[in-house]
Amino acid sequence: MAVDRGRNLGKGYGLLAPTLVVMAMGLAAPLLLMLVTSLKSQNGISLTQDWTLAQYGAVLGRASYRSLFLRSVLISGAVTILTVALAYPIAYFVAFHARHKFVWLVALTIPFWTSYLLRVFAWKIILGFNGVINSALERLHLINQPLEFLLYNPFAVVVTLAHAWAAFAILPIYVSLEKIDRSLLEAAGDLGDSRLRRFLRVTLPLSMPGVIGAAILIFVPTTGDYVTPQLVGGAKGIMIANLIETQFNAVGNWPLGAALSLVSMAMVGAIALLFVASARAATKAAR
């Protein structure tokens, strides 16, 4: 394939420039400003002139913040594992066994075509004090008092997020399974591998890119999710984004909010990178 060089390269950069400008304006400049803000402290409604690391000291020093970071990571870690584990068999089913693949893919994605807020809110209706589960159990006379442990805890957050993000696991895993060369599976079978061994030695390693992609696609945004902990988490299920939001609205401590944002971003990024690196190494070792 011929590739333009020389005088045409200018045209190429010209095509790339508008997007880079928008991203610089919308992403790089604001993040830089956030860094600057996090190095100040609040003085009434304005920021002080002097630079300080006080906000980072507060973020890393306070036990309540540290436990909130830990809880956010644990909750989204649980969500990621649960969502991927539940989605893998269905992606496998559609890729290898379903007769009408397209119909299945449409059927699996339709529930995601409504408002994210309302999908999350639906779980509040299902798990709530007078909710679907409690009123059904009461009518069946299985319980006398509504179960209160269903809502307003980390468990409710995990279940709700596992439902809300399911498509982000199903689709990447399906794509990577679908790409697998079927003759490799036949070869493994002809060479005497049992179904289980064939799955563990051929199918699973070859589908790892989809699994890793799905895990990242779910882990990163759910760690910073605001809506779900706010609606179904209660005091015990609150996450880092809820704390950040109060710094900008109710409390009004912007430098602290900026420091919290940057620390959580760095934390999520580091965990994601570490995960991708170790997952790749493990996949290679397994082959």
């Binding site: 011929a2 333009d4 060089r5 390269l9 045209k11 190429g12 950069y13 095509l15 790339l16 508008p18 997007t19 880079l20 928008v22 991203m23 304006m25 919308g26 992403l27 604001p30 993040l31 400003l33 956030m34 539940l86 068999p89 269905i90 559609v94 066994h97 299945w104 339709i110 529930p111 075509w113 409504t114 408002s115 994210y116 807020l117 309302l118 999908r119 809110f121 639906a122 209706i125 299902i126 007078n130 909710g131 679907v132 009123s135 059904a136 009518r139 439902h163 696609l217 990163v220 910073g224 809506v227 984004a241 950040i244 900008f248 909010g257 900026a258 944002s261 959580s264 971003m265 994601a272």
Partner: protein, 263 residues
């Protein structure tokens, strides 16, 4: 035997996906302000209330505006950037792609707040334009992914043939590149529109007094009496989105065949 277990699991999983979503239409027709079983009769009054709710309609208008502008801009930016990285051997193209995809790895709350800081520093008002900028960050990476994939399966000889036959750049784009890219463009427009239309957190920080639909819905969730109406709205969004996806799928198939016949 194994397949039967897997099929059974597939249907159980479908139930897990659908039951919570079906709560919306079921209670939107329930003749009671309380969202609890048993159901107490059929009504369409929540839908009637919805049609008369001017604040909701205004928010809907805002979301449509933001969604349309965002999807058009994101797809245009994605189209030119995708062409740049697939057609030219640019130095630093990998780094540029990484930079453009960066918002996927930044939580929405951080994107929203950092833009809020930028507006504050620049003395700019909160507005729908600010929401569009925020949504572009999230949507351009999606548009780019869809369009790069489409460009990679694209025979460049067709464009060269068009140029050799004397068409200028614009006419080549209009008569060759665009029709071949149409399925990708439709997919990108649809994906970015839905993403923008459904985005809450960035809009929550940046929309100010001009609420988008998700921001409006968020405000309503605090009032139990408003809930049936909100559920009716959710059921409508679901119906319209499904219809939209069906139409897009139909258009996509048309788009694949037409240029072959026309050319």
């Amino acid at each position: 035997m194994k397949n039967r277990a897997l099929t059974l699991y597939a249907f159980a999983y479908l139930a897990f996906l659908y039951v919570p979503v079906l709560v919306l239409p079921v209670f939107s027709f329930n003749n009671s302000e309380f969202i609890a079983f048993p159901l107490s009769g059929f009504t369409t009054r929540w839908y009637a209330n919805l049609a008369g709710d001017s604040a909701m309609l205004h928010a809907l208008g805002n979301s449509l505006k933001v969604g349309l502008v965002t999807s058009l801009l994101a797809t245009m930016l994605g189209l030119s950037a995708a062409k740049a990285v697939t057609h030219y051997r640019l130095k630093g193209a990998g780094a540029a792609l990484g930079f453009i995809s960066l918002p996927l790895f930044v939580p929405d709350i951080v994107l929203g707040i950092s833009l809020l800081l930028l507006l504050g520093a620049g003395g700019l008002p909160l507005s729908l334009a600010a929401v569009v900028l925020g949504h572009l960050l999230v949507c351009v990476p999606f548009a780019l992914t869809v369009l790069v994939a489409r460009f990679e399966g694209f025979d460049r000889n067709l464009e060269e043939a068009s140029a050799d036959l004397g068409e200028n750049d614009w006419m080549t784009f209009r008569r060759v590149t665009f029709p071949l890219m149409l399925p990708g463009i439709v997919a990108s427009l649809l994906l970015t529109f839905i993403t923008s239309f459904d985005e809450f957190l960035i809009a929550y920080f940046l929309s100010g007094t001009e609420a988008t639909l998700p921001v409006y819905i968020w405000g309503q969730l605090r009032f139990p009496a408003r809930l049936p109406m909100v559920l009716a709205l959710g059921a409508l969004i679901l119906t319209v989105s499904v219809a939209l996806v069906m139409v897009a799928e139909y258009v996509r198939n048309l788009g694949v065949k037409k240029p072959m016949v026309g050319a």
